[in-house]
């Protein structure tokens, strides 16, 4: 039995931390490259619907977002509980969409303008009336490629 008995105290050598900066740097670069900064503060609640046929949005720089949903509780005193449109950081009306699209288009590279894509992030409980108006406004602004933002799932419940 004495074979397995430890003889006295064995000191564990100090952990070598020489490679620590390398590891940290590696992680740092990983997160730096994968990070997407959140551009807008959402003032509304958006839970996008599920879909099996959802495709990935290819190039982020070509995409403009339109958010629609019920205002968050702290904004409800001002804006009510009806679904509202949010463009960038502000509540807007349907009439403002054309200007918004024009602005976004101006900010884009000349060659990319016809590839512009508008992603509609709409809460699933919203009624279609407002969406129909938005779609009409987009047609007027000649932004014809759209994507109904939805979560990719394998099966619809």
């Amino acid at each position: 039995m004495s074979k397995f008995k430890k003889k006295g105290k064995k000191s564990v050598g100090a952990l070598n931390t020489a490679s620590l900066p390398d590891i940290v740097f590696m992680l740092l670069f990983f997160f730096m490259t994968t990070t997407v900064m959140r551009e807008v503060d959402l003032k509304i609640t958006v839970k996008v619907p599920d879909a099996t046929e959802a495709e990935k949005l290819e190039k982020k720089s070509l995409v403009s977002f339109i958010y629609v949903g019920e205002p968050l509780p702290q904004h409800q005193a001002m804006f009510g509980t009806e679904p509202r449109i949010q463009l960038n950081d502000q509540f807007k009306r349907v009439e403002d969409i054309q200007d918004f699209i024009a602005q976004e288009r101006d900010a884009m590279d000349e060659n990319d303008r016809n590839k512009m894509l508008v992603s509609l992030k709409v809460d699933e409980k919203t009624k279609m009336g407002i969406i129909v108006d938005i779609k009409m406004a987009l047609r007027r602004a000649n932004a014809l490629k759209i994507s109904y933002s939805s979560t990719k799932v394998d099966k619809i419940k």
Binding site: L20, P21, V24, F25, L27, L28, F31, M32, T34, T35, V36, M37, R38, P49, A51, T52, E53, A54, E55, K56, L57, K60, V63, S119, L120, V122, D123, E124, K125, T126, K127, M128, G129, I131, V132, K135, L138, R139, R140, N142, A143, L144, K145, I146, S147, Y148, S149, S150, T151, K152, I156
Partner: protein
Amino acid sequence: MADIAFLLLIFFLVTTTMDVDTGLMRGLPQLPDENEPEQTDEIHDRNVFVVLINKNDELLVENKPTSVFELRELAKEFIANPENESNLPEKVEKDLPFFGTTMVTKNAVISLQNDRGTSYGMYIKVQNELLAAKQELRDEISRRQFGMKYADLDEERMEAVKDYYPSVLSEAEPKEIGGRN
């Protein structure tokens, strides 16, 4: 050095959002030119697959109340018309690369109309089923013909498969029967 790196690392860890954006890709129709007269092509009844959604999120497909879960099969049958039935879209002979001369349902149109009171969730479900029907048919035919998924085909073959099932999805202006909200 490591401290600074740590600091940055923690900053990026906190601000990072890993979610990728996904969505259903759709095109909107161009606004009709006011100077040009409207095209009023007669479309034969058998060539139209009518999907209506009312403000209570109920579906009416070809005049029959239907659940969303049946929609995909119905749409597939309509697009493909495998038995060449007389109440489903007519088939027209067409020369396709890779396939040769085939009978395709060239004039088939899926018409989707919703109410202003329809919920967005329901609308997306229906859109999803209709897209899925088309996608499944395309997958089937490209598997049979080329032995791989539609998404993996090269551009020429994709075009050919697209022409094999050419049906279009058209959205009518919504009705406002149910009133606002």
